[in-house]
Structure formats: C-alpha cells, structure tokens
Symmetry: C2
Subunit: 411 residues, 2 copies
C-alpha cells in the first residue's frame, strides 16, 4: 500500500515521459495516393512552380490590360475577338493591340495578354467584336506562375499527419511517392487471473478480456499497429516474459493491468524490471486513471493502464495516443475533437485532481447540452453510453450546471 | 448563363437530397474485433447480464452487511477471516455470522456475503481476525448482477458508427461478430479538358488531376470505398458513359466538374440525363461551393462538385460525407471536430450567403486564435496551409476580429 502517495498531474507526467522517449520509427516510402493519415518523415520541397503557367481565374476574355484603361459603361473599349485558348491548350493565339481572346476559368491566356476581363463586364457587338465596359489592371483575374507555391518552398513539413488536402497538394506537384514514418507497433499485454478470451462462456468469477480489443482499436485510430502479445495471469515471471517479448517486437508496450492493489504492484515491478530509466510515474492525479504506471525502457514507452475499461480508455487518450504520434515523429498530434455544450448537472470533483466525467450530448431546444453519465468507472457501458468527456481541471472543485463546457468527443 | 439564379442554402439542399435517398447498402457480418468505424446494421440485444456475477468494486473483505451495523472507530466489529476468494474463482468460501473473506477489486464475494468493507476501514488484529470500524450497507462496494447491462437490453442501436469502446462493450458480452452496413462505394469521375494524370509533366495549359485523389481520401475517411472511374474530357457522351458506369458499379457518384461555365453546364446536363428525379439543386448559397449540382438517380446520390480543390473539399464535407453515412444507414454522422478560437482578423462576407473561410490556428500567449488564410479558393495550398474553416452564417455580413468563433478542423 506504499504506492500512490505521490500521484502526479497528467501534464507533468506527459512531459516526464516525452523527455525520455528517444525511439522514432524508421521512414518508408509509400505512394502519395495512399498516404492519408501517415506522418511525413521529411520536409517536402516543391520541385516546381504552382501554377506552372498564368491561369485565368474567370470566364471571359484575355486582353492587354492597357487597352482597357479608361473604359466605362458610357465609353466602352472595343476589342476584336481573334479566337480562344481552349482548356488544356497552350496560347494558340497571340494578341495585337485592341485584340482579345476567349479565356476560360483555369485556362491559359493568349500570347501577349496580361489580364482577363470577366464576361459579365463585356457585351457582344457582333461575331468578332466585344465592348468592354470596365478597365482591368495588369494581372487582374489571373493566377500568376508560382502564386500558390514557388519552386524550392517547403510545402509540407516533416511531422505533419497528412490529410486529404495534403495528398492533393502533393499530387498537384507530381510528387507520387512520399517518405513517411513506419506505423509504430504497439504491443498489448492484458493481465489478470480473472480474464478469459471473449469467445465462450466465462466460469464463476471470470470475466472476458475486453481491453485487448478496445486498446487495439484505439491504437489503430492513433496511427499505430496493435500487436496483441498475450493474456497473462497475475504471475510475475509470465508477465515479465510477455513484456520482454512485447518490447522486443514493438516500439511501445501497453500493459492492461489488473485492478486490485496487488495486481498493480506486480505491474509496477514488471515494468520496472525491463531496463532504464524504468518507472517514471506511479499514479496520476486523475480520475479515472489514478493507478497508471508510466515507464520508459531504452527509449521506448511502457505504459501500465488501469484495468478497468473506462480508466484505460481515458488514460490511453492522454498518454498513449500522443506517445504513438511521437514515436512517428509527430510532436503535435491531431487535436482531440471537441464541442462546446451547456452542462445539465453539477459534476462534483476535488481540487488537486483532474476529473474526466463522461457525458452524453442532448439537444434542449436549439441548445447543445452535456448530460453527465454517472456510471461507475469500471463499467464499460458507461463509455458505450457516452459521447465524450468533460474535464474538471486540477484547480477546480467541480463544474456547475449551466456552465458552458468543452466536450472532448469519443470518435 | 441561365444557371445559378436560384442558389439554395446548404441546409435546404441537404434536406432535399436526403428526402430522395432511398438506397442503403446491404448488411454483412464482420468480426467485432475489426468493426471499429463501421456502421451497425441491426440493434444489438444483450444475450446476458453484465456483470454476470456480483463483483467487488474494492480491495477489502466481503461480509454480511448486518454484521457491521453499529461498528465505529471506538466500537469496532470483529470478524474472523476464513479465507479469500481469489480473482477468477467462484465463491470458494462461505460465511457464517461474524466471518469475513478477503475480496479483490473485480472479484467475487464469498458465499452469503452481501457487501464489501474497504481494506482502509479495517485493522488486522491477528492472522485470522480483523476489526471493522465503519458499517457498510447491503450492496455497498458491490457491482450487482446486470448493473451495467441487463439481458435483453438494446446495448447498441442500429446506425451507430462503432467506436473502440463499443467494440469493448460487445466483446464484454461475448458478441464476436456483428452485422454492419457494407461500406458505400463511391464512384469518382474527374472531368476537364485541361486535366492530366498527376505523374509526368503537364504540357502547356494542362494541370494535374488532383481531385480524384483528394476526394478518394475524403471518401475513405467518411467510411466509404473510393472507386475512381475515369478522367474524362469535356465531352458530353464520354462523361455520360463514365457517369453511367459509376452509378452502375457504385452506391453514389461524385463528379468533379470543370470550373468554367460551359463545363458546369455539361455536368448538369450529364447528371440530369441519368434517371429520376434527376437534378434537385443547381447552385448553393455558399462560398466557396456555389457551382454545386445535387442530383438523385433512382435513390442514389450523384453530386457535381466544383472543380477547384478548396470548393470541392468544402462541399464534400457538407454534402457528400453525410450522404455516405446515410447510405450506410447512419443518420447522425460523427460530428465534425471543432474548437473555439479568437478570430484575429475580420472576415468579410455577404448576408444571404454562407461562407467557409479557411483559417490557421495560432497561439497568442495562452489564447488559441484563428488567423484567416486569405488564399484564392482555386489554390490547393490554401487548404494545405489551413487547419480548419470558420463558418460565416447565412444571415451575417461577416465576422469581426476578436469574436470567439468555432473552427471546424480539417482532419
């Protein structure tokens, strides 16, 4: 019972962990088209200007801007239409003074043109003649060469988690392959004498192991590869062997620990026996999640999550998710999605402890509201029935009904 | 140029579309362990009570509660410790009056026990005797049979997008397989005379097709299967054949239309020719995204996205993403992640039009701020450089620097 006297705020624990993590996964090349969600391993420099040619941003007529100077509704400028530059073509026509060529949104300008008159500011006089009733400045309605990206620019920095638009940005430059971090492999060891695999019927006193599966799904969502190692009883040697195997095969170890004091003691001893610096944090100032153990072994994180499923999921989000991103070289993981909502009932807490209270989102009239789900933290359906969590900060003794709170969504 | 006189607010367009969508993908059975992110096809009923036995929620001693009545620090109750119920075991000991058995968090109680005394409220007298210095009520520190879930309860409703904790919840009941909606297949047709495949060097006036790839990545994130059909020129018959093929092979069609007026007219004609009811919406009161075409063909959505990448991504999020979820039977797609931030500069708009302005998130001291990215909406790197979008509602003429705004994150 000597443990958990010195629980640590999660922010501090986070920092302590991240200072000791030296392992990063190696880079690998993958096709850009399939790289959404991967972490970029190297800065990407643009091999070319984008756009590569001056493009019209409007439907209309490309002209020499100076030919339009002074044009107005009452005193339009007349242009001879000498042709068009079709989409996908080079400047097939060249302009002399007083000449114009049809231009299309995204298409090239005619040779000699430096601006585009919007079709709305023209009037057809006959088949070959238009009036222009508004002047354009040089460059007006034109996207210049390199206006989006200049050759040699860093277009996407290393460490970025690639999003769909980033894939588009890379494709626009003809970058068909990118160097990304290999997905961190996360070993999962589930421990507990009472646990049995979920298929089949548990005997008296036995329960199904669910954390292996919940944690696997969470690892995948965080961009890692879950590697379930074993379901092991509360025996020191068996646990230690599973932990050694997990760290040997993977970049990170997640131990789903038993929930009794003796089981937690054993987890701490196992994680402490694996290498240096060993156990850094032994208990978080956090509810749920107090019985969390954070260790680093030769630069790899080894996390002992609380055995109960709600605590395990909450601590995973706070500690394991950012660690997985860090292993891939991403220092700023995608922010947890959140929403503002009006709290429907008081959430009691204790100053000096950060609470994560599960809530359901409900509409009251046009108001989005958060209704606390007051289930016990050891009941998985407390989480299943929740849409997200509200955080009661360390320094507050609770939150009050009617407050606007931030709900961090379970996705 | 007759089009776009009657642009429609996106909410209305949304409703009009959703009323006509009758197609749903079929159900298929998948292992629960791999079902995270899938849409549940049928309500799931619990086959059993959870927990299946009364479990201790504390480390301590199971007792008959009535034996502790009246116990206090000054007048403790004495108990004979007759054994323990190890984790994963049935009630191996039974209690007579005045007897207690060691209990562990998550473990069973001894036979005849109806409550658990926390170890903190006991004192060891000798090897076989403890003092209890606080009474417990019947059921105290015990999770009752069925307290989490009762047999026959609907535990997860059809239409839910399964999250990691839902996987855990199903596993806890031994449900190893679930019926989920097949992933909607989304045909993607990219059109434009100027477009060439992204590998290789475009000639004069040509640009790389990037929307096929951006849209593919967005479809995957929305739980669909992207099926790129073809990159086709602005020729009616070719486009129509590609559209027919797409709708034949898939549950939904996304047309990435050219950006010139004539190209958009052609898209509208193509989408209108495919079946009934045909084109429902021809232009959105939205910036970017005005030249959007929404059609329904025999119950399947057929959406003409604007050709420029920023508009395409914005409209995809508003129209296509919810449509994909709807095809899978999910009426409430996961909410778009969002954050509150302080706006750093004015965003001008026009009343009667909903604007989506791209922003970057920056810290100013401890404040999270949103800095508008004033790139042209036809430049893909406007999106690449953005973290999210701020919505200027239909009825507002703009947003002001200093306002607290909601940023919808690009993820």
């Amino acid at each position: 019972m000597s443990e958990f006297f010195n629980v640590m705020p999660s922010g501090e624990a986070h920092e302590l962990l991240f200072r000791s993590l030296s392992v990063r996964t190696r880079a690998e090349k993958v096709p850009t088209a399939g790289a959404s969600g991967r972490v970029l391993a190297k800065d990407i420099y643009s091999p070319e200007d984008l756009p590569a040619f001056a493009r019209s941003s409007m439907d209309g007529f490309s002209v020499r801007a100076s030919d339009t100077f002074g044009a107005s509704e009452g005193m339009p400028a007349y242009f001879e239409v000498v042709g068009e530059v079709p989409m996908g073509s080079g400047p097939s026509v060249g302009l002399a003074a007083g000449q114009a060529a049809r231009a299309y949104t995204g298409g090239m300008l005619a040779g000699g043109a430096d601006a585009v008159v919007m079709v709305e500011n023209t009037q057809a006089v006959d088949e070959r003649t238009i009036e222009v009733n508004r002047p354009v400045a040089p460059g007006e309605n034109v996207i210049q060469v390199g206006e989006d990206v200049r050759r040699g620019d860093v277009v996407i920095p290393a460490g970025r988690v690639l999003r769909p638009q980033d894939i588009g940005g890379l494709m626009a430059l003809g970058i068909m392959e990118v160097s990304v971090a290999q997905k961190p492999r996360v070993a999962i060891v589930s421990t507990g004498d009472e646990l049995v695999p979920p298929a089949g019927s548990p005997g008296p006193g036995q329960v199904r192991d669910i954390n292996t599966y919940t944690i696997s799904a969470l690892v995948e969502k965080a961009g890692g590869v879950p590697v379930p190692i074993a379901l092991v009883p509360d025996e020191y040697e068996t646990q230690r062997l599973a932990a050694v195997e997990g760290l040997g095969r993977c970049d990170m170890l997640v131990f789903s620990a038993g929930s009794s004091v003796s089981a937690r003691d054993m987890t701490a001893r196992v994680l402490g026996s694996l290498g240096s610096p060993g156990v850094l944090v032994h208990g978080l100032a956090h509810k749920p999640g107090k019985p969390t153990i954070i260790a680093v072994v030769d630069g790899k994180p080894a996390i002992g999550l609380p055995g109960n499923p709600v605590s395990a999921a909450v601590v995973f989000g706070m500690i394991c998710r950012p660690a997985i991103y860090r292993l891939a070289g991403c220092t700023e993981p995608p922010r947890a999605p959140s929403l503002s909502a009006r709290l429907l009932r008081d959430i009691p807490s204790v100053a000096g402890r950060e609470d994560h209270a599960q809530v359901r989102l409900v509409m009251e009239g046009a108001d989005l509201c958060a209704a606390p789900v007051f289930g016990k933290s050891n009941l998985i359906y407390t989480l299943v029935r929740s849409d997200g969590a509200v955080i009661v900060p360390l320094e507050r003794g609770g939150l009050y009904a009617g407050e606007t709170v931030t709900v961090f969504l379970h996705t």
